[in-house]
Symmetry: D2
């Protein structure tokens, strides 16, 4: 039984980790960390866990925590994990960081887009970017995994097959993404109140969203050329879900059938990436509560572009589900353990 500690267990992603791990046969949570709710019953913060989680929230003492568990998930704001981690800790436990601290290989890029100084740049190189479908073998050997961002996961998996195949112009990629509101976190901000979000849609972080360099870096690796993209996120009045609609210009004369085949081939061994039937567009309602990502592609003969689409649950495959998938890989478990719950509809 793998012993698990969660730092930041009382955010939305942290709570989703709890939900998933309660159904995981090989792991048990030993430490519910929370700065805000330390010493309070976990179930008083998330009443859905009443009678299911009798534990009391603890603080964020990583030195102590690393003695008691095998793996630590940090579902915390940017900058925290990188200041807590050190060689001693890494020698004792595996760490899966759900923040952005170790996602970007170039420390200058990180510091520029995030506006903070990196707390432990010496571990950036070692950290494995935990997009399981791409870096599976490296994850298996990792001590420190940088769990990908929600937008990057959905964006990258939607575009990856054509980027890898070298048939799209990596300077032409435009990603128009839409997210449910749980992605904004559980902090009490006026902008996230029910009446402010409900019955509205808006773009935000236009040209400046921090997930941009993460996506660019991964697309550059996949394509072997420098990707410079537009990424525009939008806030949608729903709890969960991310939808990506991405556009790119084709650089090769290639048929719609060939394009689709590239997707089918790319993901034919993957459990969690579902290439939908021709003509079916991904919809977030069909993946809610699950670790699946639904993708599809359409060629526009008139404009010479492809429209690449993906839908997933931002809290599962976009955060906690992928983190558990990484844990499974790191500990030699079945990759799908605890993650096969079907999507909940409606």
């Amino acid at each position: 039984m793998i012993k698990v500690g969660i730092i930041g267990s009382t955010g939305y992603a942290g709570q989703e980790l709890v939900r998933i791990l309660l159904g995981h046969k090989e792991a048990e949570i030993k430490w519910y960390g929370s700065r805000t709710y330390a010493d309070m019953p976990y179930a008083s913060v998330f009443q859905n866990m009443f009678q299911l989680v009798p534990d009391i929230c603890k603080g964020e003492d990583m030195e102590k925590l690393c003695e008691e568990v095998d793996v630590i998930f940090t579902a915390t704001p940017q900058g925290l994990c990188s200041t807590l981690v050190n060689e001693d800790i890494l020698s004792k436990v595996k760490i899966i960081d759900l923040s952005a601290d170790f996602r970007i290989k170039d420390v200058d890029t990180y510091e520029k887009w995030y506006g903070i100084k990196h707390g432990s740049p010496q571990f950036i190189k070692e950290a494995v970017y935990g997009l399981c479908e791409i870096n599976r073998e490296d994850v298996k050997k990792a001590r420190l995994v940088a769990n990908p961002g929600c937008y990057p996961t959905c964006s990258f998996l939607s575009i990856y097959p054509l980027a890898k195949a070298g048939v799209i112009d990596m300077k032409s990629v435009i990603i128009d993404a839409k997210s449910g509101t749980s992605g904004a976190g559980r902090g009490a901000k006026t902008a996230n109140l029910y009446c402010e979000v409900n019955e509205s849609i808006k773009a935000y972080g236009v040209t400046t969203h921090r997930h941009t360099p993460e996506i660019e870096e991964q697309l550059s690796y996949a394509s072997g050329e420098e990707a410079i993209i537009n990424f525009t996120p939008h806030l949608v009045p729903m709890n969960r879900g991310i939808l990506v609609t991405a556009y790119a210009s084709l650089t090769k004369d290639i048929s719609a059938e060939e394009i689709r085949q590239i997707y089918v081939d790319a993901y034919k061994e993957e459990t969690f990436v579902r290439v939908l039937d021709e003509g079916i567009c991904p919809e977030t309602r069909w993946v809610e509560g699950s670790n699946y990502v639904d993708v599809n592609v359409k060629k526009d003969e008139r404009t010479g572009r492809v429209i690449m689409m993906g839908a997933m649950d931002n809290l599962v495959k976009g955060a906690a589900g992928q983190a558990v998938q990484n844990m499974n890989l790191m500990f030699g478990l079945k990759e799908t353990e605890g993650l096969l719950m079907p999507p909940v509809f409606p």
Copy 2:
């Protein structure tokens, strides 16, 4: 492995049965029945099941179906199950009927409130009302189970302890219930369009809703006296969930602590009924996607009434979850098998 057939698998309750049974270790679905979508892939109707359910929908041929499975769930409109069932079928398979056909013991009451003639009154007496927490032992021996209605399940479990204890006036009970829109089914009606339901709340079926006699009958059994109640359902702009707020006059001088203790005692052995801590009101968000019913009670010293509250997921404990719980009992399985998924939040 129990072989399962579902008639009406393409409604919301039918699909929820599929979702739950996909995670059930002792059952497998052999027949996805659907009048509307016969011969179409199940996953083309519910895209969340893409790659999870490769089956094609079949029709509603119960004669054939009863040769192929061990248990049939009928998640169909009122009146269908009672016309399909017969002694030959019941001798071959167990039936769990999610419609109202066998819930009400008095056939005249059924025919008056439902406005249709009962198709097989000879089986009413045999049928067991499948509220597992109350009729557990009878369910275990049943061939034919009448799965309770969603409103009756939540209403009854919220009121049952005090009705049973004989401390409330059974003529004073008023149930004000609120339901998410999945309770209205998947039929294409203008009244259930997004723009008609969203941003609104309404009462409906005031004084005439068909769940009224079902609740009265069960409350009468529990209290040993005739219950005549007001039941008012409301439509709420959300997908899932039922909240019951019930009122009754106390007939005994009894303290708030004693009242709460009656609840605690009544459900202390129950996995799926959670008596919340003092002062915590049930909320539907905390049970979504799960088989739990959260209940609590508050005494009003000023008016001499109690306010009894309950929250559950109408598609799980109010339909498919309870149906599987009944199946587990009927086949001697662990009662909770397949039903322990934690509530999904947010």
Copy 3:
């Protein structure tokens, strides 16, 4: 042209006052008061007012304000208005207080339910309870109007005809009310975040909600006997709207037709109270954005009770609209001026 000042113009009710007054032919807003947003452009707080309101928010200096305007609306938390008002101010301007400070005639009751000391009890007697349909003549002469609460307005107007007619037991009244989330205000609280409210319904303030004594007092006046009631509010995932479902036992042998006629007669001169056709239940979607209250009643022959129902927009008839209706009466204008906008659907 009446010159208007608003204290608390940057809450939801304050902003609704602005929206309504922008369409009012006889009034113009001279002072947009806001503690939180003082010195900021009003339209930067509420972007819908971009180019429509060029004003900068001012503070809450009532001494200065009363020199510049004819009427002050205080859309502020409980306790503020009563500490700001004094004889000098009242000699210069009329005040319409949207808080609860002057609604309850018994100061002990106020202090007990609200848990604060009243700041100026000497004005309670003078203050007129501004339920226009009931106290129209008194409002016309008032210097200080206590604008009714949202729940009380909808509850009272739903029950008033039968209370006045003396045909219901005023100790049997149970009010089960449901409100949209704008009623919770614009403060940044976790409980009011989108993901916490969306897809859920809950009761709150059970047996203890502060609107209880306000409703009881008004129902007691109307019926001439002491009303002691149960009032249970619920939070609904929608922006606007209040629905009241109220229950009471009949004390007289009276037919359904006679009951309906009492409603028709009670409101036949009223523009803003619409008695719906027989059998039509009020729904909040049909009053959104307007000053109308839709009411109806149903007799239950089985239980001897009536179900009285009302729907209105909590921000309009429940707050800003009624406040403007009071202003119109106080200044001798047409009562409906600025208030005849039809409900917005969908």
Copy 4:
């Protein structure tokens, strides 16, 4: 007083026409046409109009209707208006067609994208495309106005200034649009049920949506070169609102300030197009219920593209409001008459 007839008054756009015209000082509705609800009280279809509209719905007899009114609005499915209109009718009344029949000048393009034969191609040339801000003078003289589509209005007004200025590549334009569900109409379809739309977002009509050629045609006129674009609409779980996020490559070396100035200059005389302050993104909540379109633009120095954004209410500026604006122009009234209601928030 202008006498108005509405064919299709019981759809969402038709009902919005009614709401707006009830507040219009110079127009009165004489004919509430409806195929589905003929002979039923209008207020029984839209209960918000109870006591405000006492009229009974009539049929669609245009021959009779044109004798009784000055202007006919056709808020009907594609293909109906073009089969009803003829020279005799046009000699008697003005027609404002809210369908697509007369929007596209090239009849082949119309027939190809809409898949139906045009009923009266002889009037296409005469018909004026009623985008008031662009074709104001022509609208004033028109007998037949083609009211623009919702997506085209928002898309075009968001892009127009830069297209007109000749600084963007008209082959690089990508429009990613998001619409509330009222745009899907009031027909009873499973896909538009509450539970199907709620908590989800999807793209639809990818590369094939019928508004594509309409947008291309208008952008081509504005820019003086052939525009070939990608247009991808999405369905958002909200009642009203369209948000456009459009991308294009700059063809000139032009600063962010100059780009913004082009917008400011383009719309400086327009009441209904609001160019937001620098850095403020349009949000649909700020325009709901109003005739305003909020636009803004952002230059991305990294990619050499501009992101052009617009938000409006699809039922107002995207349908009924713009239709009334056209009526005002056609009859020599103040262009803003009946249209200055502020946006409703929240």
